[in-house]
Protein backbone atom coordinates (compact mmCIF):
# COMPACT_ATOMS: atom_id res chain seq x y z
CA UNK A 1 0.00 0.00 0.00
CA UNK A 2 1.59 3.27 -0.98
CA UNK A 3 0.93 6.94 -0.43
CA UNK A 4 1.57 7.38 -4.18
CA UNK A 5 -1.86 5.79 -4.74
CA UNK A 6 -3.43 8.45 -2.54
CA UNK A 7 -1.78 11.10 -4.73
CA UNK A 8 -2.72 9.41 -7.99
CA UNK A 9 -6.36 8.57 -7.15
CA UNK A 10 -8.79 11.25 -8.14
CA UNK A 11 -10.98 12.35 -5.23
CA UNK A 12 -13.62 15.00 -4.79
CA UNK A 13 -11.42 17.52 -2.97
CA UNK A 14 -8.86 17.72 -5.76
CA UNK A 15 -10.50 16.55 -8.95
CA UNK A 16 -14.26 16.22 -9.00
CA UNK A 17 -15.63 18.96 -11.17
CA UNK A 18 -18.75 20.48 -9.66
CA UNK A 19 -18.09 19.34 -6.09
CA UNK A 20 -16.37 22.61 -5.20
CA UNK A 21 -18.30 25.59 -3.93
CA UNK A 22 -17.61 29.26 -3.36
CA UNK A 23 -16.43 30.20 0.16
CA UNK A 24 -16.72 26.77 1.85
CA UNK A 25 -13.94 24.45 0.67
CA UNK A 26 -14.90 21.42 2.70
CA UNK A 27 -17.03 20.08 5.54
CA UNK A 28 -15.58 17.73 8.10
CA UNK A 29 -16.99 15.69 10.96
CA UNK A 30 -14.85 13.88 13.51
CA UNK A 31 -15.90 11.45 16.25
CA UNK A 32 -13.60 10.39 19.11
CA UNK A 33 -14.24 6.83 20.32
CA UNK A 34 -12.44 4.37 22.62
CA UNK A 35 -12.55 0.66 23.26
CA UNK A 36 -13.86 -0.56 26.59
CA UNK A 37 -11.31 -2.15 28.90
CA UNK A 38 -8.16 -0.73 27.31
CA UNK A 39 -5.98 2.16 28.50
CA UNK A 40 -6.06 5.25 26.25
CA UNK A 41 -3.16 5.26 23.74
CA UNK A 42 -1.14 7.90 25.65
CA UNK A 43 -1.07 5.70 28.78
CA UNK A 44 -1.14 2.24 27.19
CA UNK A 45 1.95 0.03 27.06
CA UNK A 46 3.30 -0.77 23.56
CA UNK A 47 1.85 -4.29 23.72
CA UNK A 48 -1.60 -2.88 24.46
CA UNK A 49 -1.34 -0.33 21.66
CA UNK A 50 -0.40 -3.11 19.27
CA UNK A 51 -3.41 -5.17 20.32
CA UNK A 52 -5.71 -2.14 20.03
CA UNK A 53 -4.39 -1.38 16.53
CA UNK A 54 -4.87 -4.99 15.39
CA UNK A 55 -8.44 -5.18 16.73
CA UNK A 56 -9.45 -1.86 15.24
CA UNK A 57 -7.89 -2.43 11.83
CA UNK A 58 -9.44 -5.90 11.65
CA UNK A 59 -12.90 -4.52 12.47
CA UNK A 60 -12.62 -1.47 10.21
CA UNK A 61 -11.42 -3.30 7.10
CA UNK A 62 -14.49 -5.61 7.32
CA UNK A 63 -16.87 -2.67 6.85
CA UNK A 64 -18.32 -2.10 3.36
CA UNK A 65 -17.29 1.57 3.52
CA UNK A 66 -13.64 0.47 3.88
CA UNK A 67 -13.62 -2.14 1.10
CA UNK A 68 -10.24 -2.00 -0.65
CA UNK A 69 -9.23 0.74 1.78
CA UNK A 70 -5.71 2.01 2.36
CA UNK A 71 -4.19 0.86 5.64
CA UNK A 72 -1.13 2.78 6.77
CA UNK A 73 0.90 1.95 9.86
CA UNK A 74 2.84 5.05 10.82
CA UNK A 75 5.86 3.03 11.98
CA UNK A 76 6.25 1.57 8.48
CA UNK A 77 5.99 4.84 6.55
CA UNK A 78 8.85 7.12 5.48
CA UNK A 79 8.75 10.69 6.88
CA UNK A 80 7.71 12.15 3.54
CA UNK A 81 4.71 9.83 3.14
CA UNK A 82 3.49 10.66 6.64
CA UNK A 83 3.83 14.37 5.86
CA UNK A 84 1.70 13.92 2.70
CA UNK A 85 -1.08 12.33 4.76
CA UNK A 86 -0.93 15.23 7.24
CA UNK A 87 -1.11 17.81 4.43
CA UNK A 88 -4.19 16.02 3.07
CA UNK A 89 -5.78 16.17 6.54
CA UNK A 90 -6.11 12.38 6.41
CA UNK A 91 -4.06 12.01 9.60
CA UNK A 92 -3.09 14.48 12.32
CA UNK A 93 0.45 15.69 13.07
CA UNK A 94 0.15 13.93 16.41
CA UNK A 95 -0.59 10.56 14.81
CA UNK A 96 2.18 11.01 12.23
CA UNK A 97 4.78 11.83 14.87
CA UNK A 98 4.31 8.52 16.75
CA UNK A 99 5.21 4.99 15.70
CA UNK A 100 2.21 3.05 16.98
CA UNK A 101 -0.56 4.90 15.15
CA UNK A 102 -2.33 3.69 12.04
CA UNK A 103 -4.86 5.06 9.58
CA UNK A 104 -7.54 3.29 7.57
CA UNK A 105 -8.59 5.44 4.62
CA UNK A 106 -11.49 4.69 2.29
CA UNK A 107 -10.74 4.33 -1.41
CA UNK A 108 -12.42 7.65 -2.25
CA UNK A 109 -10.59 9.38 0.67
CA UNK A 110 -13.91 10.59 2.08
CA UNK A 111 -13.69 8.50 5.28
CA UNK A 112 -10.65 7.88 7.39
CA UNK A 113 -10.15 6.45 10.85
CA UNK A 114 -7.06 7.21 12.88
CA UNK A 115 -6.15 4.42 15.29
CA UNK A 116 -4.11 5.10 18.45
CA UNK A 117 -4.07 8.85 18.17
CA UNK A 118 -5.08 10.57 21.43
CA UNK A 119 -8.08 8.21 21.45
CA UNK A 120 -8.25 4.65 20.15
CA UNK A 121 -10.43 5.72 17.22
CA UNK A 122 -10.87 9.04 15.50
CA UNK A 123 -13.53 8.62 12.83
CA UNK A 124 -13.40 11.33 10.20
CA UNK A 125 -15.58 12.13 7.21
CA UNK A 126 -14.82 14.95 4.79
CA UNK A 127 -16.76 16.24 1.77
CA UNK A 128 -15.91 19.00 -0.68
CA UNK A 129 -18.14 22.06 -0.32
CA UNK A 130 -20.74 22.66 2.39
CA UNK A 131 -22.65 19.44 3.19
CA UNK A 132 -23.00 19.31 6.96
CA UNK A 133 -25.95 16.90 7.12
CA UNK A 134 -24.62 14.58 4.42
CA UNK A 135 -21.21 14.44 6.07
CA UNK A 136 -22.79 13.82 9.48
CA UNK A 137 -25.03 11.04 8.14
CA UNK A 138 -22.00 9.12 6.84
CA UNK A 139 -20.16 9.60 10.16
CA UNK A 140 -23.21 8.42 12.10
CA UNK A 141 -23.53 5.28 9.95
CA UNK A 142 -19.83 4.54 10.34
CA UNK A 143 -20.06 5.08 14.09
CA UNK A 144 -22.96 2.64 14.35
CA UNK A 145 -21.18 0.06 12.21
CA UNK A 146 -18.01 0.34 14.32
CA UNK A 147 -20.01 0.27 17.57
CA UNK A 148 -21.74 -2.92 16.45
CA UNK A 149 -18.41 -4.78 16.19
CA UNK A 150 -16.20 -3.15 18.84
CA UNK A 151 -17.22 -2.53 22.47
CA UNK A 152 -17.15 1.26 22.80
CA UNK A 153 -16.45 3.01 26.15
CA UNK A 154 -19.57 4.94 27.14
CA UNK A 155 -21.32 6.20 30.27
CA UNK A 156 -24.94 7.36 30.54
CA UNK A 157 -23.79 10.41 32.50
CA UNK A 158 -20.78 11.49 30.44
CA UNK A 159 -21.42 9.92 27.04
CA UNK A 160 -18.50 8.65 24.96
CA UNK A 161 -15.43 8.51 27.20
CA UNK A 162 -12.32 10.10 25.77
CA UNK A 163 -8.73 10.65 26.92
CA UNK A 164 -9.17 14.43 27.08
CA UNK A 165 -12.02 16.19 28.92
CA UNK A 166 -12.40 18.55 25.94
CA UNK A 167 -13.83 15.71 23.80
CA UNK A 168 -16.00 13.76 26.24
CA UNK A 169 -19.75 13.43 25.61
CA UNK A 170 -20.51 13.34 21.90
CA UNK A 171 -16.81 13.21 20.93
CA UNK A 172 -17.98 15.29 17.97
CA UNK A 173 -15.95 17.97 16.29
CA UNK A 174 -17.69 19.37 13.22
CA UNK A 175 -15.87 21.89 11.08
CA UNK A 176 -15.96 23.93 7.91
CA UNK A 177 -12.91 25.01 5.95
CA UNK A 178 -13.78 28.49 4.72
CA UNK A 179 -12.04 30.82 2.30
CA UNK A 180 -12.49 34.42 3.46
CA UNK A 181 -10.48 36.75 1.22
CA UNK A 182 -13.27 39.36 1.23
CA UNK A 183 -13.34 39.69 5.02
CA UNK A 184 -9.52 39.70 5.08
CA UNK A 185 -9.28 42.43 2.41
CA UNK A 186 -11.97 44.50 4.15
CA UNK A 187 -10.05 44.20 7.44
CA UNK A 188 -12.96 42.57 9.29
CA UNK A 189 -11.42 39.19 9.94
CA UNK A 190 -10.33 39.88 13.54
CA UNK A 191 -13.77 41.10 14.48
CA UNK A 192 -15.37 38.00 12.96
CA UNK A 193 -12.87 35.67 14.63
CA UNK A 194 -13.59 37.29 17.99
CA UNK A 195 -17.35 36.92 17.57
CA UNK A 196 -16.98 33.23 16.69
CA UNK A 197 -14.73 32.50 19.68
CA UNK A 198 -17.12 34.27 22.02
CA UNK A 199 -19.90 32.01 20.82
CA UNK A 200 -18.01 28.78 21.47
CA UNK A 201 -16.43 28.16 18.06
CA UNK A 202 -12.72 27.69 17.46
CA UNK A 203 -11.03 29.40 14.50
CA UNK A 204 -7.82 27.87 13.20
CA UNK A 205 -5.55 28.04 10.16
CA UNK A 206 -5.45 25.76 7.12
CA UNK A 207 -3.58 22.92 8.83
CA UNK A 208 -5.44 23.02 12.14
CA UNK A 209 -4.28 23.94 15.61
CA UNK A 210 -1.48 26.52 15.82
CA UNK A 211 -1.16 27.12 12.08
CA UNK A 212 -1.44 30.36 10.17
CA UNK A 213 -4.33 31.13 7.91
CA UNK A 214 -2.38 30.72 4.67
CA UNK A 215 -4.40 31.67 1.59
CA UNK A 216 -7.12 33.34 3.69
CA UNK A 217 -8.40 29.88 4.66
CA UNK A 218 -9.82 29.26 8.11
CA UNK A 219 -11.16 26.21 9.87
CA UNK A 220 -14.20 26.83 12.06
CA UNK A 221 -15.24 24.16 14.56
CA UNK A 222 -17.32 23.59 17.69
CA UNK A 223 -15.55 23.45 21.05
CA UNK A 224 -18.21 22.10 23.41
CA UNK A 225 -18.84 18.36 23.14
CA UNK A 226 -20.77 17.65 26.36
CA UNK A 227 -24.30 18.69 27.31
CA UNK A 228 -25.34 19.40 23.73
CA UNK A 229 -26.89 16.90 21.35
CA UNK A 230 -25.13 16.20 18.05
CA UNK A 231 -28.00 17.95 16.32
CA UNK A 232 -27.58 21.08 18.46
CA UNK A 233 -23.82 21.15 17.77
CA UNK A 234 -24.40 20.86 14.02
CA UNK A 235 -27.14 23.51 14.02
CA UNK A 236 -24.92 25.93 15.95
CA UNK A 237 -22.01 25.51 13.52
CA UNK A 238 -24.36 25.53 10.52
CA UNK A 239 -25.96 28.81 11.60
CA UNK A 240 -22.60 30.51 11.93
CA UNK A 241 -21.26 29.20 8.63
CA UNK A 242 -24.35 30.55 6.87
CA UNK A 243 -23.81 33.97 8.49
CA UNK A 244 -20.12 33.84 7.61
CA UNK A 245 -20.85 33.02 3.96
CA UNK A 246 -23.30 35.96 3.75
CA UNK A 247 -20.83 38.35 5.39
CA UNK A 248 -18.02 37.14 3.13
CA UNK A 249 -20.14 37.80 0.02
CA UNK A 250 -21.07 41.27 1.30
CA UNK A 251 -17.41 42.04 1.93
CA UNK A 252 -16.38 40.73 -1.51
CA UNK A 253 -18.99 42.80 -3.35
CA UNK A 254 -18.14 45.89 -1.34
CA UNK A 255 -14.40 45.55 -1.94
CA UNK A 256 -14.94 44.83 -5.64
CA UNK A 257 -17.20 47.85 -6.01
CA UNK A 258 -14.96 50.22 -4.05
CA UNK A 259 -11.73 49.10 -5.71
CA UNK A 260 -13.20 48.79 -9.21
CA UNK A 261 -10.38 48.34 -11.72
CA UNK A 262 -7.86 47.87 -8.92
CA UNK A 263 -9.75 44.78 -7.75
CA UNK A 264 -9.50 43.13 -11.17
CA UNK A 265 -5.88 44.31 -11.41
CA UNK A 266 -5.05 42.63 -8.12
CA UNK A 267 -6.50 39.27 -9.24
CA UNK A 268 -5.01 39.60 -12.70
CA UNK A 269 -1.53 40.27 -11.28
CA UNK A 270 -1.77 37.12 -9.19
CA UNK A 271 -2.62 35.07 -12.28
CA UNK A 272 0.26 36.70 -14.16
CA UNK A 273 2.72 36.04 -11.38
CA UNK A 274 1.65 32.40 -10.94
CA UNK A 275 1.85 31.86 -14.69
CA UNK A 276 5.35 33.20 -15.06
CA UNK A 277 7.18 32.65 -11.76
CA UNK A 278 10.11 30.24 -11.84
CA UNK A 279 10.36 29.93 -8.05
CA UNK A 280 7.25 29.95 -5.86
CA UNK A 281 7.24 29.60 -2.07
CA UNK A 282 4.39 27.77 -0.41
CA UNK A 283 3.03 30.90 1.31
CA UNK A 284 3.25 32.99 -1.86
CA UNK A 285 1.46 30.45 -4.02
CA UNK A 286 -1.28 29.98 -1.40
CA UNK A 287 -1.94 33.71 -1.28
CA UNK A 288 -1.98 34.08 -5.08
CA UNK A 289 -4.16 30.98 -5.51
CA UNK A 290 -6.55 32.51 -2.97
CA UNK A 291 -6.98 35.40 -5.43
CA UNK A 292 -7.67 32.96 -8.28
CA UNK A 293 -10.30 31.14 -6.19
CA UNK A 294 -11.89 34.50 -5.45
CA UNK A 295 -11.81 35.28 -9.19
CA UNK A 296 -13.59 31.97 -9.97
CA UNK A 297 -16.25 32.64 -7.29
CA UNK A 298 -16.93 36.14 -8.60
CA UNK A 299 -17.13 35.29 -12.26
CA UNK A 300 -13.80 36.97 -13.14
CA UNK A 301 -12.60 33.51 -14.19
CA UNK A 302 -14.84 30.59 -15.30
CA UNK A 303 -16.28 28.75 -12.30
CA UNK A 304 -15.30 25.38 -13.72
CA UNK A 305 -11.63 26.29 -13.15
CA UNK A 306 -12.13 26.37 -9.38
CA UNK A 307 -11.22 22.71 -8.87
CA UNK A 308 -7.85 23.32 -10.55
CA UNK A 309 -7.13 26.05 -7.99
CA UNK A 310 -8.19 23.77 -5.11
CA UNK A 311 -5.98 20.98 -6.41
CA UNK A 312 -2.98 23.32 -6.70
CA UNK A 313 -3.51 24.50 -3.12
CA UNK A 314 -3.36 20.93 -1.86
CA UNK A 315 -0.63 19.70 -4.19
CA UNK A 316 1.54 22.80 -3.68
CA UNK A 317 2.25 21.88 -0.06
CA UNK A 318 5.89 20.95 0.61
CA UNK A 319 5.52 17.19 1.14
CA UNK A 320 3.19 16.88 -1.86
CA UNK A 321 5.69 18.65 -4.11
CA UNK A 322 8.46 16.30 -3.02
CA UNK A 323 6.30 13.17 -3.20
CA UNK A 324 5.35 14.08 -6.79
CA UNK A 325 9.01 14.47 -7.61
CA UNK A 326 9.70 11.16 -5.89
CA UNK A 327 12.59 12.62 -3.91
CA UNK A 328 13.38 14.98 -1.07
CA UNK A 329 14.12 18.48 -2.34
CA UNK A 330 15.77 21.50 -0.75
CA UNK A 331 13.85 24.75 -0.43
CA UNK A 332 14.83 26.09 -3.89
CA UNK A 333 14.12 22.71 -5.45
CA UNK A 334 10.61 22.68 -3.97
CA UNK A 335 9.94 26.25 -5.05
CA UNK A 336 11.10 25.43 -8.60
CA UNK A 337 9.01 22.24 -8.81
CA UNK A 338 5.96 24.03 -7.39
CA UNK A 339 6.31 26.89 -9.89
CA UNK A 340 6.56 24.43 -12.77
CA UNK A 341 3.42 22.54 -11.71
CA UNK A 342 1.45 25.77 -11.23
CA UNK A 343 2.64 27.18 -14.57
CA UNK A 344 1.58 24.06 -16.41
CA UNK A 345 -1.83 23.89 -14.74
CA UNK A 346 -2.60 27.55 -15.44
CA UNK A 347 -1.27 27.66 -19.00
CA UNK A 348 -4.69 27.59 -20.65
CA UNK A 349 -6.45 29.80 -18.06
CA UNK A 350 -8.27 32.72 -19.71
CA UNK A 351 -7.64 36.35 -18.74
CA UNK A 352 -9.24 37.72 -15.57
CA UNK A 353 -12.40 39.66 -16.41
CA UNK A 354 -14.72 41.96 -14.46
CA UNK A 355 -16.81 40.45 -11.63
CA UNK A 356 -20.29 39.21 -12.53
CA UNK A 357 -21.34 37.74 -9.14
Amino acid sequence: MSVQEILADENELTHLLGAQQAVVLSTRVRLARNLEGFPFPGWAKPAHRKEIAERCIEALTQLPRFRKSHVFKMGDLPDLDRAVLVERHLVSKELASGKSGAAVISRDQTCSVMVNEEDHLRIQVVKAGWHLRGTWNIAEQLDDAIGATLGIAFSDQLGFLTACPTNVGTGLRASAMVHLPGLCLAGHIEKVTRALSQDGLAVRGWLGEGTEAAGNIFQISNQQTLGLSEDAILRHLGGWVKTLVDQEWNARRKVAQEEGERFVDRLSRSLGLLRHARLLTSAESMNMLSHLRLACDMGCLPEERRHVVDRLMIEGQPAHVQARQGAELDSDGRDRRRATAVREALRDFPEVGSPTA
Binding site: F40, W43, Q157, G159, A163, E230
Partner: protein, 160 residues
Protein backbone atom coordinates in the same frame (compact mmCIF):
# COMPACT_ATOMS: atom_id res chain seq x y z
CA UNK B 1 34.12 38.56 36.87
CA UNK B 2 32.03 38.18 40.06
CA UNK B 3 32.91 35.53 42.62
CA UNK B 4 31.24 32.21 41.79
CA UNK B 5 28.49 31.14 44.20
CA UNK B 6 29.51 28.56 46.78
CA UNK B 7 27.72 25.35 47.66
CA UNK B 8 25.48 25.83 50.73
CA UNK B 9 26.77 22.52 52.15
CA UNK B 10 30.48 22.14 51.35
CA UNK B 11 31.73 25.51 49.99
CA UNK B 12 32.70 24.07 46.59
CA UNK B 13 31.71 26.02 43.47
CA UNK B 14 27.92 25.79 43.12
CA UNK B 15 26.45 24.83 39.75
CA UNK B 16 22.89 23.96 40.90
CA UNK B 17 20.75 26.90 42.07
CA UNK B 18 17.32 26.47 43.63
CA UNK B 19 14.84 29.13 44.72
CA UNK B 20 12.00 28.54 47.14
CA UNK B 21 9.16 31.01 47.59
CA UNK B 22 6.79 30.35 50.50
CA UNK B 23 4.06 32.96 51.10
CA UNK B 24 6.20 35.65 49.49
CA UNK B 25 9.39 34.66 51.39
CA UNK B 26 12.20 33.85 48.96
CA UNK B 27 14.87 31.28 49.94
CA UNK B 28 17.74 30.64 47.57
CA UNK B 29 20.05 27.63 47.90
CA UNK B 30 23.09 26.76 45.81
CA UNK B 31 24.68 23.32 45.52
CA UNK B 32 27.74 21.81 43.95
CA UNK B 33 26.85 18.86 41.73
CA UNK B 34 27.98 16.29 44.31
CA UNK B 35 25.85 17.72 47.14
CA UNK B 36 22.86 18.23 44.86
CA UNK B 37 23.07 14.53 43.99
CA UNK B 38 23.29 13.55 47.68
CA UNK B 39 20.34 15.76 48.48
CA UNK B 40 22.57 18.12 50.53
CA UNK B 41 22.39 16.37 53.92
CA UNK B 42 22.98 18.29 57.15
CA UNK B 43 21.80 21.81 56.28
CA UNK B 44 18.54 23.21 57.57
CA UNK B 45 17.89 25.28 54.43
CA UNK B 46 18.38 22.18 52.33
CA UNK B 47 15.81 20.25 54.35
CA UNK B 48 13.32 23.05 53.94
CA UNK B 49 13.97 23.01 50.24
CA UNK B 50 13.54 19.28 50.05
CA UNK B 51 10.11 19.77 51.64
CA UNK B 52 9.31 22.36 49.04
CA UNK B 53 10.38 20.06 46.24
CA UNK B 54 8.19 17.31 47.69
CA UNK B 55 5.29 19.74 47.90
CA UNK B 56 5.57 20.43 44.16
CA UNK B 57 5.16 16.73 43.34
CA UNK B 58 2.83 15.44 46.06
CA UNK B 59 2.04 11.79 46.52
CA UNK B 60 -0.99 10.77 44.43
CA UNK B 61 -4.31 11.01 46.27
CA UNK B 62 -6.35 9.07 43.71
CA UNK B 63 -5.22 6.05 41.69
CA UNK B 64 -7.29 4.22 39.08
CA UNK B 65 -7.46 0.55 40.11
CA UNK B 66 -7.93 -0.45 36.47
CA UNK B 67 -4.88 1.17 34.89
CA UNK B 68 -2.79 2.69 37.71
CA UNK B 69 -3.23 6.25 36.47
CA UNK B 70 -3.03 8.94 39.21
CA UNK B 71 -4.34 12.46 39.79
CA UNK B 72 -0.72 13.68 39.75
CA UNK B 73 -0.30 12.23 36.29
CA UNK B 74 -3.54 13.92 35.16
CA UNK B 75 -2.29 17.32 36.30
CA UNK B 76 0.87 16.73 34.27
CA UNK B 77 -0.76 15.49 31.05
CA UNK B 78 -4.29 16.85 31.06
CA UNK B 79 -5.44 13.46 29.72
CA UNK B 80 -6.85 10.42 31.53
CA UNK B 81 -5.45 6.89 31.56
CA UNK B 82 -8.42 4.69 30.60
CA UNK B 83 -12.24 4.79 30.37
CA UNK B 84 -12.53 3.65 34.03
CA UNK B 85 -10.56 6.73 35.13
CA UNK B 86 -13.70 8.77 34.40
CA UNK B 87 -15.49 6.99 37.23
CA UNK B 88 -12.50 7.12 39.59
CA UNK B 89 -11.71 10.81 38.96
CA UNK B 90 -15.32 11.82 38.29
CA UNK B 91 -15.84 14.03 41.35
CA UNK B 92 -12.40 15.61 41.08
CA UNK B 93 -13.08 16.42 37.40
CA UNK B 94 -16.50 18.00 37.99
CA UNK B 95 -15.12 21.54 38.33
CA UNK B 96 -12.86 21.19 35.32
CA UNK B 97 -15.70 19.84 33.16
CA UNK B 98 -17.92 22.77 34.07
CA UNK B 99 -15.08 25.07 33.05
CA UNK B 100 -14.21 23.49 29.69
CA UNK B 101 -17.61 22.11 28.71
CA UNK B 102 -20.12 24.25 30.66
CA UNK B 103 -22.19 21.07 31.18
CA UNK B 104 -21.80 17.78 33.02
CA UNK B 105 -24.57 15.64 31.50
CA UNK B 106 -24.40 13.90 28.12
CA UNK B 107 -27.53 14.37 26.01
CA UNK B 108 -26.39 12.91 22.72
CA UNK B 109 -26.12 9.54 21.00
CA UNK B 110 -25.28 6.19 22.55
CA UNK B 111 -23.31 3.30 21.01
CA UNK B 112 -25.18 1.13 18.49
CA UNK B 113 -27.57 -1.33 20.13
CA UNK B 114 -27.86 0.49 23.46
CA UNK B 115 -30.63 2.73 24.80
CA UNK B 116 -29.76 6.42 24.33
CA UNK B 117 -30.41 7.34 27.97
CA UNK B 118 -28.95 10.82 27.57
CA UNK B 119 -31.24 11.61 24.66
CA UNK B 120 -34.26 10.24 26.53
CA UNK B 121 -33.53 12.32 29.65
CA UNK B 122 -33.05 15.38 27.48
CA UNK B 123 -36.36 14.80 25.68
CA UNK B 124 -38.15 14.11 28.97
CA UNK B 125 -37.12 17.50 30.34
CA UNK B 126 -38.11 19.26 27.11
CA UNK B 127 -41.48 17.43 26.94
CA UNK B 128 -42.27 18.40 30.55
CA UNK B 129 -41.63 22.07 29.74
CA UNK B 130 -43.74 21.83 26.56
CA UNK B 131 -46.52 20.10 28.54
CA UNK B 132 -46.70 22.93 31.07
CA UNK B 133 -46.81 25.46 28.23
CA UNK B 134 -49.54 23.51 26.37
CA UNK B 135 -51.71 23.35 29.51
CA UNK B 136 -51.19 27.08 30.13
CA UNK B 137 -52.24 27.75 26.52
CA UNK B 138 -55.27 25.46 26.97
CA UNK B 139 -54.08 23.37 24.01
CA UNK B 140 -55.39 20.13 25.48
CA UNK B 141 -54.88 18.04 22.37
CA UNK B 142 -51.11 18.73 22.36
CA UNK B 143 -51.02 18.41 26.16
CA UNK B 144 -52.52 14.92 25.97
CA UNK B 145 -49.90 13.83 23.44
CA UNK B 146 -47.10 15.28 25.56
CA UNK B 147 -48.49 13.67 28.73
CA UNK B 148 -48.39 10.27 26.97
CA UNK B 149 -44.83 10.93 25.78
CA UNK B 150 -43.69 11.90 29.29
CA UNK B 151 -45.28 8.72 30.69
CA UNK B 152 -43.71 6.56 27.98
CA UNK B 153 -40.17 7.97 28.47
CA UNK B 154 -40.50 7.78 32.27
CA UNK B 155 -41.44 4.08 32.04
CA UNK B 156 -38.61 3.46 29.60
CA UNK B 157 -36.05 5.09 31.92
CA UNK B 158 -37.48 3.34 35.01
CA UNK B 159 -37.13 -0.10 33.47
CA UNK B 160 -33.39 0.35 32.76
Amino acid sequence: MANPLKCSVCDAVATVHLTQIVQGKVTKVDFCEACAAKGGAGDAAVFKLADAVNAVTPAPAITCPQCGFTDVEFRRRGRLGCPSCWQVFGVALGGLLTKVQHEIQHVGRAPAGTVPVGQLRHRLLAAQVELTAAIAAEDYETAAKLRDEVARITTQLDTL
